[in-house]
């Protein structure tokens, strides 16, 4: 998986490309850990994310929880496969999707 960061002042945009599963989730977790300082608004661009597993969901949920205390988190460009997962797991209900 490739994580691309784009920072605009307090707004961080992360573009995820590839599979977000048990092996790659720690990578995203690390990026979030090191890049969220001073960030109040987070956007996850999942246009090129082909798969998300429960380990990936865990990291997304963690980010959602952390950002909900600030200006929130937006998940955009969710494709059908990932959306299915979000639907089945109920994530669709708790995430701000665009």
């Amino acid at each position: 998986m490739v994580v691309t960061q784009k920072r605009e002042e307090k707004h961080l945009v992360l573009t995820l490309e590839g599979r977000l599963d048990t092996t790659t989730a720690p990578q995203l977790e690390e990026v979030l850990k090191s890049s969220l300082g001073g960030v109040t608004h987070l956007t996850l661009d999942l246009a090129k994310l082909v798969y998300v597993s429960s380990a990936g969901l865990r990291v997304i949920l963690g980010a959602q929880k952390q950002m909900s205390k600030l200006d929130g988190m937006v998940v955009k460009n969710v494709n059908e496969t990932v959306m299915d997962v979000f639907e089945v797991t109920g994530f669709k209900e708790i995430l701000t999707l665009e």
Partner: protein, 616 residues
């Protein structure tokens, strides 16, 4: 590091160079001075000896000249005694003077009055008239009288002239001869102290100066003859010095000087400092050149050697260490340029080997622990499927194929009282020991709450609350649970973010039991779960599974997918299978699909068939 080393090496070499140069320069200086002092001393000694020799020479010449003069005087006296007539004949007297090779002849009578003379103008001169001639008057009374006078300067020319005289033989009177003592004069001139300086040279341009009563009496430059030593450049203090050397500035040149006193003379030997240090300076230059070459060679050699022997080795070791740090424990350090590196290499290699062994050991232990964890997990699931003997209302079967790691899937089924059967399937996010602990907690919670009689939605709400409270690592679990009333076939179920199960009416086809799910357990506090109902009739079946089934990958990285699962379940071959066989069949299809690809996730399935209320 190389630069630092070279900097220090260069500094060291420069310091060594300077120190060596200073030491040799100082030694050379001292030696040069010692040599110069020795040279001056030697020359002064020679000069002193020369003075002595000169004096002895003069004394010898004098005694020879005196003896010859007396002999001539006596011979003349004898002639006068034998032939008194010569006194009257001037020609004969002149002849005698010539033969005696003298300049003057004088003969006096018994009163000391000259009666015969050459030159003739002295006839009648009274010997008592001058102090010089008076010295001979004693001859009038002493027939054995003989006297050779000191030579004196005479006339305007200042030439030396000397008189010798004896008593007349047979009659009182004086016989005297006068002559120029040429040999004596020559000897005296040679021995003149003024010539001393010219005879001695110290080194190339050193010399000896002779002073007498503060005046220069001998020096190479006639302009300074008769001038005072002070005028020449010596100070009073220097002139009062004993025999030790000193440095004086004479006529603009600095000299090393050594003075000594001898017989009223002051001999001063001087040697220009520049000359004294010629040898030292040449040696110094030679040393500088040699040392520069030597130190340059040493610097270059040490530099190259250190580069080869130490620095390259260190770089090599560092490269290896970097690879080791990056996790390549098979890397070996092989620097063999010298013993120290061999020791270092071996030390590192054995450390890495030990580390590797320790890691392998730890890995083996972790593997063993994981195996234990897996066993515990497995043993916590209902495994014996004949655990409901005598219950013919239902048939339940479940399988779980764990992936390499300890996973977080679990299934469960248990009776609540006599009439109700609970089925659970769940999938914890993540893997490993934390996931498996979380799974155990969840499983226990769900069972306890359910057995306490709570409705499915209440069970999930309570479990969610508990899991959220004790969830620092942000784990969650997707779960599906249903409770089947065995007498009525009423099935109450609730879904927390889990894959929807497939349901088949007796004789029909499997289709997804889709309903909007609640959020995952442990994900968000206060999540509400809504239970739904379904009525089972005899022969109806429910198929529960985790995403390990639909997301099983083959070697082409294709998913087994919902579609394939549905097709497999609805295939004709599966239609008449009982639950146990069906699950094994699905597993077989999955295995056929993945074709040896690594299993990434647990594959868990649970099948339930309602057989209807037992009659009677």
């Amino acid at each position: 590091m190389r630069k630092t080393f070279q900097k220090w090496l260069f500094l060291f070499v420069v310091v060594a160079f300077i120190v060596t140069f200073c030491i040799s320069f100082s030694i050379e200086s001292r030696q040069a001075k010692g040599n110069a002092v020795g040279l001056i001393r030697l020359k002064m000694e020679d000069a002193r000896k020369q003075i002595v020799v000169n004096r002895e020479n003069i004394a010898t010449v004098r005694s020879i000249v005196d003896a010859a003069a007396l002999a001539k005087a006596r011979a003349f006296a004898k002639i006068v005694a034998l032939q008194p007539s010569v006194l009257k004949r001037g020609e004969e007297l002149e002849d005698i003077r010539r033969r005696l090779d003298v300049d003057e002849l004088h003969v006096s009578d018994e009163r000391g009055i000259l009666i015969a003379d050459i030159p003739a103008e002295y006839i009648g001169y009274d010997m008592a008239a001058s102090e010089q001639s008076a010295e001979f008057l004693a001859a009038l009374h002493d027939p054995n009288f003989a006297l050779v006078q000191e030579p004196r300067r005479k006339g305007i020319s200042g030439e030396m002239f000397q008189y010798a005289g004896v008593a007349r033989t047979g009659t009182p009177g004086i016989v005297q001869i006068g002559y120029h003592p040429k040999r004596l004069q020559a000897a005296v001139e040679v021995a003149d102290i003024a010539n001393l300086s010219a005879g001695f040279r110290i080194g190339k341009s050193g010399k000896i100066i002779v002073g007498e009563a503060g005046k220069i009496v001998s020096i190479d430059n006639p302009a300074f003859l008769g001038k005072s030593l002070k005028e020449y450049g010596f100070s009073d203090k220097q002139l009062r010095r004993g025999e030790s050397e000193f440095v004086a500035n004479l006529q603009g040149v600095r000299y090393l000087c050594l003075s000594s006193s001898y017989e009223g003379y002051k001999l001063i030997g001087i040697l220009p400092l520049s000359e004294m240090y010629v040898g030292r300076n040449e040696m110094g230059l030679f040393l500088v050149v040699c040392n520069l070459i030597l130190f340059a060679v040493v610097f270059a050699l040490v530099s190259v050697l250190v580069q080869r022997v130490v620095i390259d080795g260190i770089y090599s070791v560092n490269r290896s260490l970097e690879r080791i740090t990056q996790g390549d424990l098979n890397e070996r350090v092989e620097v063999k340029t010298n013993n120290e590196f061999v020791a270092l290499s071996e030390g590192i290699n054995s450390t890495v080997t030990a580390l590797k062994e320790a890691i392998a050991e730890a890995a083996a232990r972790i593997d063993a622990e994981l195996e234990v964890a897996r066993a515990i997990q497995r043993s916590s699931l209902p495994g014996v499927f004949s655990s409901f003997p005598g219950r013919d209302e239902f048939d339940v079967y479940a399988t779980m194929g764990t992936a390499k790691e300890v996973g977080g899937d679990f299934y469960d089924f248990f009776l609540i009282g006599e009439n109700r059967l609970a089925v659970v399937i769940a999938d914890v996010s993540g893997k490993g020991i934390p996931a498996s602990l979380f799974m155990m907690t969840t499983k226990t919670l769900l069972q306890n709450l359910t057995e306490a009689g709570a409705s499915p939605e209440r069970v999930f709400s309570e479990a969610n609350k508990y899991l959220c409270e004790n969830n620092e690592i942000g784990m969650f679990v997707t779960a599906f649970m249903g409770i089947l009333e065995l007498d009525t076939g009423r099935f109450t179920y609730v879904n927390a973010g889990h894959n929807p199960p497939l349901f088949r009416k007796a004789g029909g086809r499997y289709s997804w039991l889709k309903s909007p799910p609640g959020f995952v357990l442990g994900g968000m506090e206060g999540t509400r779960y809504r239970e739904r109902e379904l009525l089972f009739q005899a022969g109806d079946r429910l198929f529960l599974y985790t995403d390990g089934v639909t997301e099983a990958l083959n070697l082409r990285e294709e998913l087994f997918s919902d579609l394939r699962l549905e097709e497999t379940l609805n295939a004709d071959v599966a239609r008449e299978m009982d639950v146990t066989t069906l699950l094994k069949h699905v597993q077989g299809e999955i295995d056929r699909f993945t074709d040896g690809a690594d299993q990434a996730d647990d594959i868990t399935m649970l099948g339930l068939e309602y057989k209807g209320k037992v009659k009677g």
